[in-house]
């Protein structure tokens, strides 16, 4: 479903060009569950943004579902994003002026979903994440963990084929984290392709392949069995 060939990303700074991604080559089939790991500033979020087509400023080749993204115009990329991607941001990025309910409704409102269906879908999702009771609250009235739940719910509400999750469990209690992972697993089994970034080895193990990034380079790929924690 996803093919990355020699993808590179650099920032122009005073000191010259700083590369944050180098020669990324990656193949991800439809229905895979991938984990990306690596130290801070390794370029994980950057890579996710490129795959999610939020970032247009990179080099190399990227094919998504048979479409050569690097040849597409920003508008077409956006359309592709709308069609496939659900994104969980590292920093939640909930809309502060909207209630939980309204936040979940936003992605649907941009996707030609009938108004009558929208309410049903939103309620269903609220229910699935156990946040029905919070639907009329504003993000600032929620705890960090609750905010993260809402952010995830918002990413999946439009039933995306590709879920990109940047540390979705960072602020969650381990039981909640596990719940989320089970949910991802279920979504994955239902056909969604998932790429998640995490520092937590337990959650990393939900991915079938674990890609390691370091200083912008791909630093090998392992399976869950090879995780240091498992080896012990």
């Amino acid at each position: 479903m996803i093919t990355l060939k020699n993808v590179e990303k650099c920032y122009k700074t005073k000191a010259g060009f700083t590369y944050v991604l180098r020669q990324i080559n990656l193949q991800i089939a439809e229905g895979e569950f991938i984990t990306i790991m690596g130290p801070s500033a390794a370029g994980k979020s950057t890579l996710l943004n490129i795959v999610g087509m939020l970032d247009h400023d990179w080099e190399g080749e990227y094919t998504l579902a048979g479409q050569a993204v690097h040849t597409l115009k920003p508008k077409q990329r956006q359309a592709l994003n709308r069609q496939y991607v659900g994104f969980v941001f590292q920093a939640f990025n909930l809309l502060d002026s909207l209630t939980v309910y309204e936040n979940l409704d936003v992605p649907l409102s941009y996707r030609n979903v009938k108004t009558s269906q929208r309410a049903a879908i939103v309620c269903d999702t609220l229910d699935r994440f156990g946040i029905v009771g919070k639907k009329d609250l504003y993000p600032s009235q929620l705890s960090g963990g609750q905010q993260q739940l809402v952010a995830i719910a918002r990413a999946v509400v439009a039933n995306p084929k590709l879920i990109l999750a940047d540390e979705p469990t960072g602020n969650l209690h381990s039981t909640q984290g596990r719940e989320i992972m089970k949910l991802f697993k279920k979504l994955n089994e239902e056909g969604a392709t998932i790429i998640q970034v995490t520092h937590n080895e337990e959650y990393a193990a939900y991915g079938r392949r674990i890609i390691q990034l370091k200083d912008g380079w791909m630093d090998g790929e392992i399976t869950p069995d090879q995780l240091p924690g498992k080896a012990r």
Binding site: D55, K75, F87, F89, N93, L95, D96, S97
Partner: protein, 808 residues
């Protein structure tokens, strides 16, 4: 002190960092302050300032009210009735008379006022030199004394300090009425000079005053009309005086049931009457300027709030670093004050310019207008309001924040949504207010524009194009009697008619200015008896020469035109009069009776109208009288632009008279257009204010949306990451702009429907709540709001989600 200086320097630097903000605030406030102070200064000079007489509050003016309207009493009635009442300390009167001043420079005609001897003492104004009139000087034979105006004294007599005792030669057609149009001159002894600013209420500045003498003649059998002025006794209220006059009117009616049956003596404070009907436009403009000030304040409030919100972070940091709440407030205050002071100075400058412009633009017949100058109180008032606005809104956000959550605001970077929402709503409603107020102003301006257009297209019943008018005043010294004058005018008409490009030429009596074009004539119609005690009907009265109808292009619809052979006993009436009294018979050959003389109708002309009397009421009578008066209006219809013909005509007249006798030469279209000056004046200023209001309100819409967009860059980025298209974002921002505009428009339409009736008297052929105008203005405003929203919307749609998300 050093802290203050430091604050000022820091404030200047902050403003310098954001010069756009500073410039916009200063400009908006300056314009509002300028407009308001200027209009208020004019209104103050004209309307609010008391008349320059002693205890002007107690001075009242009296008149006779009948169903035909108010009018001055005859001198006889004045003497019989007005002086009887016990409610006045003193009752005086004055009249108006044309004089020819002979022997100083060139002879010329002036209007001056005969006054009763007690009038000047009643007003409480003392002469600069000499004395005012003595009671015995009201007797015929003793009356050849004159008090000069300061202006006449300085301009014509070189401010000669020894002027008292010298004589002035005057002649007047009234003094000579019974001596068949010959003009005797009489010498008047100068006994006094009045101070510079003195003039009579209701009157144009007069060059001199003479004693008012009771005198009947064939024309005024009851004596001339006089204007009574009285001073109320200290303890007497206006209502008591009115009641006393009602009793007096009743007595008068009992005593003279034939002539006074339907007349009542009315009175009112002089100040009210002096300005009656003339201040309407000014007050209206004052209201409009007030709207502009409100809009400006709303706008500036928004700008200040926006700015303060943008600096929340900085302020919070300062407080965490140990700045006291007082210091932070003081800093904000200093900045606000810097701005509003600058705006005030700019506004002051604008005011000086605007007052001059308004006085220059204003049609001349508004009393006391020239006295308008920038008024300190007013300036203080508007300055105060704008400074207050700056202070209130410049520091309000700081207050709130200082109050509660300085540290939190620093930590989280956002205020509570409830506060954000509340402020957003406040900002939104300020913009809505601005839109509503500008809609009202726009509707007013549009109504006036439509009225003017309608007036320009009004069917006047005559064709004013290609007509040149020349006001001719023959010097009485050279043309002492009617025969000479008639000869002159007859010869002139003959000569001009032979000139190329002249279609026709005619004469009309000079007092017959357009607007007040005609005198009035009372008449009766055989077969239409007037009930006892009721007044005879009145018609407009024009004395013309043959060729008048042809020259003005007034069609004769029945019968024939007047000819050289017709004299005062043959008349042409207009259709209005004909329809009123001869609706089912042929008026030709019928008679009207005027003071016992039978006037035979030989023709019926189209009814004419002018802009001042768009709905002629009673009808008109035209008669041919010999051109024996010294001043006449000469009318020429040319087959070309009449202005090109003007030099030729002047040359002809000068050649014939061998003297300069033309005092004014204008096209008829110019004269007509001048009668619209008052309306045009209000329209121009109202239009100007409406335009200003629109611009400021649109700055408001733009500023608010721009601010929202800047505040929500991050949210917009998130939305884009969640799949929002450019057009979704565009539509959302435009939608907010349009929503504000629509609420404002609805509020404005409601306001306009309630308020525009104050315009009624200035409107023609359009109602104050004209749906077409309301719709037009609403649509225009909505479209403008859409345009104002477009830039911020575009900017929002161009947000790069990556950059926006990094923002966090």
């Amino acid at each position: 002190m050093t802290i203050l200086w430091q604050d000022i320097r820091y404030g200047l630097r902050m403003l310098g960092k954001n010069p756009g903000f500073a410039v916009v605030v200063v400009l908006i406030l300056a314009v509002a302050i300028g407009a308001n102070t200027a209009v208020f200064s004019v209104v103050n000079a004209v309307v609010l300032r008391p008349l320059p007489y002693r205890d002007a509050d107690h001075i009242v003016t009296l008149w006779e009210q009948s169903k035909w309207g108010g009018r001055p009493p005859s001198h006889q009635d004045f003497l019989t009735w007005y002086r009887q009442s016990q409610v006045f300390e003193e009752v005086a009167a004055y009249a108006r008379q044309r004089f020819y001043v002979v022997g100083i420079d060139k002879s010329r005609e002036v209007w001056a006022n005969p006054v009763s001897a007690n009038l000047l003492p009643l007003l409480g104004v003392n002469p600069l030199l000499g004395r005012v009139f003595r009671p015995e000087e009201e007797q015929p034979g003793n009356d050849q004394v004159v008090v000069l105006s300061h202006r006449f004294w300085t301009d014509r007599l070189g401010a000669d300090p020894n002027v008292l005792g010298r004589t002035l030669s005057l002649t007047s057609d009234e003094m000579n009425r019974d001596t068949s149009l010959s003009f005797d001159r009489r010498d008047y002894t100068i006994v006094g000079v009045m101070p510079a600013d003195f003039e009579l209420p209701f009157e144009r500045p007069a060059p001199f005053w003479v004693p008012l003498v009771f005198q009947r003649d064939s024309y005024w059998e009851e004596g001339r009309p006089v204007r009574p002025i009285a001073r109320l006794k200290r303890a007497v209220t206006l209502e008591q005086a009115r009641a006393a006059m009602a009793v007096l009117s009743e007595q008068a009616k009992q005593a003279q049931p034939k002539t006074r049956a339907d007349r009542k003596i009315e009175l009112d404070r002089m100040q009210n009457r002096v300005l009656a009907g003339k201040t309407h436009g000014l007050l209206l403009l004052l209201g409009a300027a007030g709207f502009v000030l409100l809009i400006a304040c709303g706008n500036v409030a928004n700008l200040f709030m926006t700015r303060a919100a943008a600096r929340q972070q900085e302020l919070a940091t300062r407080m965490v670093l140990g700045a006291s709440r007082g210091r932070v407030l003081q800093q904000m205050l200093t900045e606000s004050l810097l701005l509003t002071t600058a705006a005030g100075l700019a506004g002051l400058l604008l005011t000086f310019l605007t007052v001059k412009a308004i006085v220059g633009l204003c049609p001349v017949d508004i009393p006391r207008l020239e006295q308008a100058s920038v008024d300190g109180t007013v300036l203080g008032f508007t300055l105060g309001i704008s400074i207050l606005t700056g202070l209130l809104f410049g520091t309000m956000p700081a207050w709130r924040m200082v109050d509660t959550r300085a540290s939190q605001s620093l930590k989280s970077g956002w205020t509570r949504p409830s506060i954000t929402r509340q402020r957003r709503r406040l900002r939104g409603s300020l913009v809505v207010l601005q839109i509503a107020l500008s809609l009202i102003l726009l509707v007013g301006a549009t109504l006036l524009i439509r009225s003017l257009i309608a007036l320009h297209h009004m069917d006047l019943g005559f064709r004013p194009e290609n007509v040149l008018t020349a006001h001719i005043e023959l010097p009485v010294a050279k043309y002492p009697d009617g025969k000479h004058r008639q000869l002159f005018f007859d010869e002139l008409i003959e000569r001009v008619r032979r000139l190329p490009h002249v279609r026709s030429a005619a004469l009309v009596r000079a007092s017959l200015q357009l607007g007040e074009m005609e005198g009035e004539l009372s008449f009766s119609v055989p077969g239409h008896p007037v009930p006892d005690g009721q007044e005879l009907p009145m018609a407009k009265w024009s004395c013309i020469s043959p060729g008048f109808f042809q020259t003005l292009g007034i069609p004769i619809v029945k019968g024939r035109d007047l000819t050289e052979q017709d004299h005062a006993d043959h008349i042409v009436i207009d259709e209005t009069l004909a329809n009123r009294y001869f609706s089912d018979e042929d008026p030709i050959g019928r008679v009207l009776v005027q003071e016992g003389h039978e006037l035979t109708i030989v023709g019926v002309a189209r009814t004419t109208r002018d802009f001042l009397t768009p709905n002629p009421a009673e009808g008109a009578i035209y008669m041919h009288l010999p051109a024996s008066l010294p001043d006449m209006i000469f009318l020429v219809r040319t087959d070309d632009d009449p202005i090109r013909f003007a030099p030729l005509l002047r040359q002809q007249i000068d050649a014939l008279s061998q003297e300069e006798v033309v005092t004014r030469m204008e096209t008829l279209e110019t004269i007509l257009s001048d009668t619209l000056a008052a309306r045009r004046f209000v329209m121009i200023l109202l239009g100007l204010f409406a335009g200003l209001a629109l611009i400021v309100a649109m700055i408001g819409v733009y500023g608010l949306l721009q601010y929202n967009t800047a505040q929500q860059t991050h949210d917009i980025g998130v939305r884009m990451a969640l799949g929002a298209r450019e057009q979704d974002i565009l539509a959302a921002v435009l939608g907010r702009g349009v929503k504000l505009a629509l609420i404002g428009i609805v509020a404005g339409v409601v306001g306009a429907v309630a308020l525009t009736r104050v315009l009624s008297s200035l409107l023609y052929d359009v109602t104050p709540t004209d749906p077409a105008t309301l719709t037009l203005v609403s649509v225009a405003l909505a479209v403008t709001a859409l345009l104002a929203s477009y830039l911020p919307a575009r900017r929002a749609a161009k947000v790069d989600p990556m950059v926006a998300l990094r923002h966090e």
